[in-house]
């Protein structure tokens, strides 16, 4: 298969990559921002603890040194150096220990610490640069009564800064400011971002490969169907797609496709058979027309001879017209439901009419027709014209295949839901082997066609088509040399 952007394979792969990409980006963003939020939050909490521990330790140390508010600044500056040599030990030395413990625990030596009172520096750590001071100052006012966090950039370094009011010796105006480097957090987040940016394209590339092969695998039966479809011509409809390795869903497609070809093959065979039958039915009268005309033109004949030939030819022409008309009707009945004009009518009245006409037809062979009168009115929803045709076809057959002076019986049996009309003759009967075929088109059961033969071989197939159009059926019971009974069952109209 040539690669094309318009293939299902390409589209499925592209769509899955696009959707997966969107989902991955969304998912990674959520993960990334959650991590960022958590890290900042943890850092802020740590800063608050740091500030409190620092303030508490400083105040304890100052108290134990019995310092005055004046000496606070000096002591605080010493403490913020976190240097053992600078601090003179108190009596027990516990306070210093605790101070260094806190400094180690919270990495206070690395932080930028500033303690102020009303905007005036009281004490500051060694690494506290003047540049930082101006940054710190900006937020001192708003932090006068509450805890404030800010992220500032000084000397290309990002710091997270906490402003926390603290009461040294009951004085509300002190403010502890602690700035800690954001470098570890930023490093972590950067690494995470890099891994996301690197992994998404890799995942998408893998997905596109997998999708490509999966769709190839899924579409394999479709390709098989296509190849088979290309192989099929009207001359050879034998090709089928193998279902052996197909998945269940694809089996439906393959089976539906194979079923369609089965039906096509059947229709083609039927058409071939049908057209050869049509040719046969029309060629015979044409052969007679041609032969008779050639024969009579060979020599000068008596006027009676010409008359005979013309009469024979006329019969054959009429026969061809009947074949063509019956064929047209058969086609119409099969494919055009609008041929039927349904109306409600009384079956008793209708059958009486059939009966009267049948008597006239049967009188040609001195035959008798019997039909018991129908007592009650039975209504049928149907097309009277076509039903007439159905019953006359049956009566016609009965007359045709019965000996002179025999009897035809028309019976009507009514059940709550349907009406059964039977036509029984005392004719030659139908051989059991032929019975399944008599409703097929162009079936001739007449073993000896004679001069009075008028059948087209379509009568019973038309009768069946008409019965079916009325949701009815035709059944046949027959015994050779004893006679046949054709029973038409029609549904009664709901009243």
């Amino acid at each position: 298969m040539v690669f094309s952007f318009n293939t299902l394979r390409f589209k499925i792969t592209l769509l899955s990559v696009i959707f997966l990409g969107l989902i991955l980006i969304l998912y990674s963003s959520i993960l990334y921002y959650t991590l960022r939020f958590t890290l900042y939050n943890d850092l802020d909490q740590e800063l608050i603890v740091k500030a409190e521990e620092l303030g508490n330790s400083l105040q304890t140390y100052w108290r134990e040194k019995k310092g005055t508010p004046k000496s606070f600044q000096k002591i605080a500056n010493k403490v913020l150096l976190f240097d053992e040599e600078q601090l003179s030990p108190t009596d027990s030395g516990q306070t210093e220990k605790k101070l260094f413990l806190i400094a180690d625990k919270y990495d206070l030596r690395e932080d930028h610490i500033h303690i102020s009172k009303k905007g005036v520096t009281v004490a500051r750590s060694n690494n506290f640069s003047p540049g930082l001071l101006s940054h710190f100052r900006k937020h001192e006012l708003e932090a006068a009564s509450e805890v404030v966090f800010k992220t500032v950039t000084v000397d290309n370094k990002k710091l997270r800064v906490l402003y926390k009011p603290y009461r040294f010796f009951g004085d509300e105006d002190h403010l502890i400011e602690i700035g800690t480097s954001l470098k570890p957090i930023i490093n972590l987040l950067d690494k995470r971002l890099a891994s996301i940016i690197f992994s998404i394209p890799v995942i998408l590339l893998l997905t596109s490969f997998i999708g490509h092969f999966l769709t190839l695998r899924i579409l394999k039966p479709v390709l098989a169907v296509t190849k088979t479809a290309e192989k099929i011509t009207h001359e050879d409809l034998s090709a089928r797609v193998k279902t052996k390795h197909a998945d269940d869903e694809m089996k439906y497609l393959v089976n539906a496709f194979n079923g369609m070809i089965d039906r096509l093959e059947k229709s083609f065979r039927y058409i071939a058979e049908f057209s050869s039958q049509v040719a046969h039915e029309l060629k015979t009268p044409l052969a007679i027309l041609r032969g008779e005309s050639q024969m009579v033109l060979k020599a000068k004949r008596k006027p009676e001879e010409y008359e005979r030939v013309i009469r024979v030819n006329l019969e054959e022409i009429e026969r061809m017209i009947r074949v063509v008309e019956d064929l047209l009707l058969a086609t119409k009945l099969e494919y055009d439901t609008e041929v039927f004009k349904f109306e409600l009518f009384d079956l008793a009245e209708f059958m009486q009419d059939i009966y009267e006409q049948s008597k006239i037809l049967a009188s040609q062979k001195e035959m008798e027709v019997t039909m018991p009168a129908l007592a009650k009115r039975v209504f049928i929803h149907g097309d009277r014209l076509h039903l007439r045709r159905l019953f006359f076809n049956l009566v016609d057959n009965a007359i045709k295949f019965s000996p002179q002076k025999s009897t035809i019986h028309i019976g009507v049996h009514v059940t709550p839901n349907q009406a059964e009309i039977s036509v029984t003759d005392q004719g030659i009967g139908i051989h059991p082997a032929d019975q399944p075929h008599i409703f097929k088109k162009f079936f001739h059961k007449d073993p000896r066609k004679n001069a009075s033969y008028t059948g087209t071989g379509l009568g019973l197939s038309l009768a069946l088509a008409i019965a079916n159009a009325h949701r009815g059926t035709i059944a046949v019971k027959s015994e050779v040399e004893r006679g046949s009974t054709f029973t038409v069952t029609l549904p009664r109209a709901a009243r």
Partner: protein, 135 residues
């Protein structure tokens, strides 16, 4: 006029027409009779068998589409009765189709071809048979 149309040695050859169409039988019969042949007509196998046994038939003009016992079966049975009997298949089927159905007939005739073709084919089949007989 017609007695002069076929060679003398073919006059009186016996031809059996097997066809279920009365009018076809009648037509072919009168056409072949006027050529000088002796013609018999049969509508189905029992009738045909009767003539095949009682008469020394030289040629059968055989239709294929015949009810009950069709022409294909009949051609086999005619061969069993007497393999020397010539068979000319006469049907409305196209010639290629006829050849497929009855393989070993002596000639084939499409009914739509016209009477003169039938008469020619009958004469050819009988003449070739006569020549072989003489040799």
């Amino acid at each position: 006029m017609s007695l002069l149309m076929i060679p003398v040695h073919l006059i009186g050859k016996k031809i059996l027409i097997v066809d279920d169409e009365f009018k076809i039988r009648q037509l072919y019969s009168s056409a072949l009779q006027s050529e000088g042949y002796e013609v018999f007509e049969a509508a189905d196998w029992p009738d045909a068998a009767k003539f095949l046994i009682s008469q020394l038939i030289d040629l059968v003009v055989l239709d294929i589409h015949v009810p009950i016992v069709d022409g294909v079966c009949m051609s086999g049975m005619i061969g069993e009765i007497d393999p020397k009997i010539k068979i000319l298949v006469a049907s409305v089927y196209p010639l290629s189709h006829q050849r497929r159905l009855i393989i070993d007939a002596d000639d084939y005739f499409d009914k739509a071809e016209g009477l003169h073709v039938l008469v020619d084919k009958v004469r050819n089949v009988l003449s070739s048979a006569y020549i072989r007989e003489v040799e």
